[in-house]
């Protein structure tokens, strides 16, 4: 399973590295989203700093949609999905590989966006450990859930419009938990960030389990 995961994940990341879609399109898009938030809250700069955590995670969510769509659109041409199906790779490995590749791209984006939030919105850090750990766990949850629902919509003609509808409501708890934990880590709320971290961890665990158990059904049928 792990060997297959490394194979699939490595393939996806190599495709992304060579096509440069992630670096040339998704990353600028993420920065643009941040700039647009800046325009939207132009009148009230204090509000922008206060809402920085939430805006960061909304931007990550939007980018994760793009990453998941990319992850399955590279499987949609030239019958590569059938190839993947016939390859004899463990479906759980395919899931872990694809989710891992999405997670790796999201981490890179989060670093970029994090700099953006600090520079553009003037947020300052209080508890970097909580910040980084929350981001890591939330990213695993986003990537796992995104990959599960992405696979459901993968072969469909309407996947570009269907995927956001399937994914966004499901990952809303990630947005909530990660925002609350970050607010605590940025010193903007007195909430217990580690409790929200627990919610994120259970979300990630649930979706990784669903993916490992359910992907064989989805790979064969979707």
């Amino acid at each position: 399973m792990w060997r297959d995961a490394v194979l699939v994940g490595g393939k996806d990341l190599r495709v992304e590295l060579r096509s440069r879609v992630a670096t040339m399109q998704v990353a600028p898009y993420a920065i643009l989203v941040l700039l647009l938030f800046g325009f939207a809250f132009d009148q009230n700069h204090a509000l922008l700093t206060q809402a920085a955590a939430g805006l960061f995670w909304v931007a990550v969510l939007l980018c994760s949609l793009l990453a998941v769509q990319r992850s399955f659109s590279i499987e949609s041409v030239d019958g590569t999905r059938d190839g993947l199906r016939l390859s004899g790779l463990d479906p759980a490995g395919i899931f872990l590989g694809k989710a891992g590749a999405v997670a790796a791209q999201l981490v890179a984006l989060e670093v970029l966006l994090g700099f953006g939030v600090v520079v553009l919105f003037g947020a300052d850090l209080r508890d970097p450990g909580l910040l980084v750990l929350t981001a890591a766990v939330a990213t695993v949850g986003l990537a796992a859930a995104g990959t599960v629902y992405g696979m459901m919509a993968a072969g469909l003609r309407v996947r570009e419009t269907l995927m956001p509808l399937l994914i966004l409501p499901v990952v809303a708890p990630v947005l909530l938990g990660a925002t609350q934990a970050w607010m605590a880590a940025l010193g903007q709320s007195s909430a217990d960030g580690w409790k929200w971290m627990g919610l994120l961890a259970s979300f990630a665990a649930i979706y990784v389990t669903i993916g490992i158990l359910g992907f064989s059904t989805l790979v064969e049928e979707a």
Binding site: V148, Y149, M152, A153, G155, L156, R157, V158, L162, L165, L166, L168, P169, V170, A172, I206, I210, G214, T217, L218, E220, E221, A222
Partner: protein, 270 residues
Amino acid sequence: MGSVGDLRGRRGTGDRVTRILGWSTLVAVVATAWVGLVVSPPDVVQGDLVRLIYVHPAAATTCYVGFGLCALASLAYLWPRTRSWRWDQLAAASAEIGVVFCVITIVTGSIWGRGSWGVWWTWDARLTLTALLLAVFIGYLALRRAIADRRSRAMVSAVFGVVAALLVPIDHEATNWWQTLHQGNTLLRANPLIHGWQLVGMLLSFAAFGLLFSWLLVHRFRVEVLEDRYEVEGFATAIAERRAEAGAGAGLELAEPVVAAATPEPASQS
């Protein structure tokens, strides 16, 4: 479920059982309205607003039942030994009715919120989760519409249905797990909070919504069965009918019956 889903030789989706069910539903709804609007007293604190208690909790419970049934039917479909189209059709039917009741729940809750909290909507765990539940099951219905192949539609939506219904217990327990503005459970506790006609009205409303749900479910399930049958047999049946028409109208055997059937005016070919 064989007889419920077997519609051959029948016009429409109704039969004696559904008519009895339909009339009992009507009686129960009228009784609930009568107890709720006439017999039961207004509340000391909430006044007439409390009468929403004869609609809102029952609608919410029915919505849970619909989504729960969708999950159970999906599980039955996923389990290889019980796999059957009937479970897929049942899941589709109950999810759709669940969505309807979820909308009713949110609308009546919103009206109640406006009256007692002063706002149409507030960002409270129970409300937010219910809205998410609605969004997730609208996604379920959209997913079903999007997949053309019957087999993969059944499979994928079954996986989605099972996972989506995980939100139901979380939503139900939301008032216990988080500090919410929404009140806690009224009936499911050791010492129920209401008595007398209010309790009677509330129990009646549950019966009425339960009957309404089953009545709608039987009909919707049968429509789903018909839709599936149309999908599978529709084209073949249409060809056979046109072929018969062409044979009768032209009075001769056609050499290429399929082509003849596809032609709009078969009679003009002679």
